[in-house]
């Protein structure tokens, strides 16, 4: 078995998923999803826009962002690196990971009890690994308390 991932099953439940999140299936959302599945090269929003335009010349950039957000929200698409906004910086060079509060946006240093390097990640032949970045997402103690 090869460790490089294979194409996911065809779009069976897109409609269902959208509906489950209170969203509608529209031609644009379908198209954007199709573009992503066609060539799984992790395109940027801009690339998705250009590709979608081939089949659907009227589509606009704003709609592509809308559709991507909708697809992410309903769990059909992953945003590769969840930070849409300014990069943050950290002077702590110890081995640690970061916890992002989805609610308030704050970031916490989290000490690692076991380095993810020991977590059993196995790379296919030829890849040369330099470092691993682990990002945790959820609610910080304050927001978790409020959410109750």
């Amino acid at each position: 078995m090869n460790a490089v991932a294979t194409k996911p099953p065809p779009e069976n439940d897109l409609n269902e998923r959208l509906a489950h999140s209170g969203l509608r299936l529209t031609p644009q959302r379908q198209q954007v999803h199709e573009v992503l599945r066609e060539k799984m090269d992790h395109p940027t929003a801009d690339q998705v826009f250009l590709r979608a335009k081939n089949k659907m010349p009227e589509i606009s950039m704003a709609t592509v962002y809308n559709c991507l957000d909708a697809l992410v929200k309903c769990g059909m698409v992953r945003q590769v690196t969840l930070d849409r906004g300014a990069t943050r910086f950290c002077p702590n060079m110890q081995d640690h990971s970061h916890f992002y509060c989805d609610e308030c946006g704050s970031v916490y240093d989290i000490l690692q009890t076991i380095s993810p390097a020991d977590a059993g990640i196995r790379l296919p032949r030829g890849f040369r690994l330099k470092n691993i970045e682990t990002n945790l997402h959820g609610l910080c103690p304050d927001c978790a308390a409020k959410a109750k």
Copy 2:
């Protein structure tokens, strides 16, 4: 040279580190580093700029970016989420992580043999974890071959 043995400045190895990467220690770089160490709340470049201006009103945004890049390059600062550019999207909802080639910028899906959730990460009380994102960085097979 002072005959009285003075305590090494807290900065002790900033200079050394910069030098090791062929970079100079400048007041601005020192100031930016100081700002980061003063309040470890993972500020954005913009926030660093505003804070640095208090002590050093002449400093410019471009310099802050310069300094941050220098500090990251010499290993004194981490960039929290290494993606400075457009967000990428991925329709593969299987449990997997992403490998970023530092050389050519391409992104590969990597199946996980063990989920990082099992990797022994232990959160302090109160945090509620929703999901984990693991990003691998290094060279892809093509670039690794060329690098030889």
